[in-house]
Amino acid sequence: MNMKELTIISGKGGTGKTSLVASFAALAENKVIVDADVDAADMHLVLEPSVKREAEFMGGHTAQIRPDICNQCGECRERCQFDAVSDDFVVDSIACEGCGVCVHFCPADAIEFPRRLSGKWFVSETRNGPMIHARLGIAEENSGMLVSLLRKEARKLADKKRLEMIITDGPPGIGCPVIASVTGSDAVLIITEPTLSGLHDMKRVGELADFLKVPALLTVNKYDLNPEITRQIESFSRENHIVFTGTIPYDPAVTSAMVAKKSLVEFSDTPAALAIRNIWERVSTYMQT
């Protein structure tokens, strides 16, 4: 089976990733949706998943000093590169990188090194098909690892149910969770907005896709906010082998649809909804070839 994976990213946050993916979820058939924006997941607000299976996500390790054994020799404090051990020998779990150096060198064997429960992930059913999503614990790390896990589970599910496509709603930025969302995808769709910030961030995320050797497609949301920058983005994409899939006009119905817990294409037939349908046509044709 020739299963394909499309990841939607933006660089800049708030350009409309989740709204677009929610519409794709209504338009695409035989697919699984992944919400990979694990530290600010929103897709469930539109797709209203019913959870079929949930599991714990164990992240990295954290050092814990046992005060009953610790003789306060200071070896751990001296060796820790992350200033994670306090003056009174308590490990700051937020600063601790989970490297295990203190555990190894503690002469009293006073440091435990458990893996931490960093979140939960879910396999769910929605009105628009299966969905894999997660909730990262507050102030937890390793979201890249959780993203990798979600994508792996999506692959398993797609294999089992003979689904043709995985559509992944990625996180903003260009760092670890984004790299984990994009690596090995068949294509990324970058959604940006015609602002100088949007342009700046789109270039960086386009560069990242290129670095990871994943072909990139692009769409401009709220293009009519600044037609001049929209033109600049379009010509940038042409010069950099990024497939331009069209533009979406500004539409207050996007927020109304969100409030109504619907995707835009389910909610209305506004020009923006029509534009998204056309973009989906182009994207799905691209993915099939």
Partner: protein, 278 residues
């Protein structure tokens, strides 16, 4: 005072609030843009660049002529960044967290410090605002060390404003920890509210006082107001949803330049934060 500006959801206006606040105060302010993955503050402040510095992380470099293939380096590494297999040792420096464990355990001193480029720190001046921002190298996964580096520029005297990245996980925590007050910028939509609730939990976990700036306040629904009321979180400022504001933003203009009457709003915002800091 160190004031940090965060939000769960991206694109709600963190940078807008950070840059306009810093520029509106008409006094010396240091602004640290900690959204090192996608820094934007410089687009609005257009600073005159005074300094650029490459930021690196320590990674291992193995001298195989001194190596006895004991495997201790690979055993201590939690990140598979160094591996001893048979008669060879290999490093995967992009996975290295710079704990120096391998160097500490090596019995023959075969491992020395090399470096991996994380990105660049850029400093500049725009009026009374001193801007420092980090720019993560494209392809580099780890932003927290870069954020730590930007945060070394915090001033103990006067006002430092920190523009945090979106989300609620490690990069955000790294940006807002050890600050005196947090402004959470959000918009009154279901996504905005959901992510605001996550961000509020994160700030509470750090035990820092915080308030809300509601951007595009007349869009969406009234659930965010209700949430703030129920939780006793102050709404410090509301910014209207106006196409003219969005257009000015798109061109990289500060709101207080395009709409000078808004200056007083940001000055009041600062006053509210100072009042509630303790």
């Amino acid at each position: 005072m160190i004031l940090s500006i965060a939000s769960g959801k991206g694109g709600t206006g963190k940078t807008t609030v950070a840059t306009n606040l810093a520029a509106a105060l008409e006094c010396p302010v240091r602004l640290l843009d900690c959204d090192v993955e996608e820094p934007n503050a410089h687009i609005f402040l257009k600073p005159e660049i005074t300094e650029r510095e490459t930021v690196t992380a320590v990674v291992p470099d193995v001298d195989l002529s001194k190596c006895e293939y004991c495997g201790a380096c690979g055993d201590i590494c939690q990140f598979s960044a160094i591996v001893a297999a048979g008669e060879t040792v290999m490093t995967f420096t992009e996975m290295c967290h710079s704990c120096k464990g391998c160097m500490m355990v090596c019995p023959t001193g075969a491992i020395s410090e090399s470096s991996r480029t994380l990105g660049e720190i850029i400093k500049g001046v725009s009026g009374q605002v001193e801007l420092v921002y980090g720019s993560l190298r494209v392809g580099e996964a780890m932003s927290p060390p870069m954020i730590r580096k930007v945060k070394e520029e915090v001033r103990t005297e006067g006002l430092t404003v920190i523009d945090a990245p979106p989300g609620t996980s490690c990069p955000v925590i790294e940006s807002i920890r050890n600050t005196d007050y947090v402004i959470l910028v959000t918009e009154p939509t279901p996504f905005g509210l959901n992510d605001l609730m996550l961000a509020a939990e994160a700030v509470r976990a750090l035990d820092i006082p915080f308030g809300i700036v509601l951007n595009r306040c007349d869009s969406g629904d009234d659930n965010t107001h209700r949430y703030a009321r129920e939780q006793g979180i102050p709404i410090l400022m509301e910014i209207p949803d106006k196409r003219e504001i969005a257009e000015a933003y798109s061109k990289g203009h500060l709101m207080i330049e395009a709409f000078p009457e808004m200056k007083v709003g940001f000055k009041n915002l600062m006053g509210e934060c100072v009042k509630r800091e303790t």
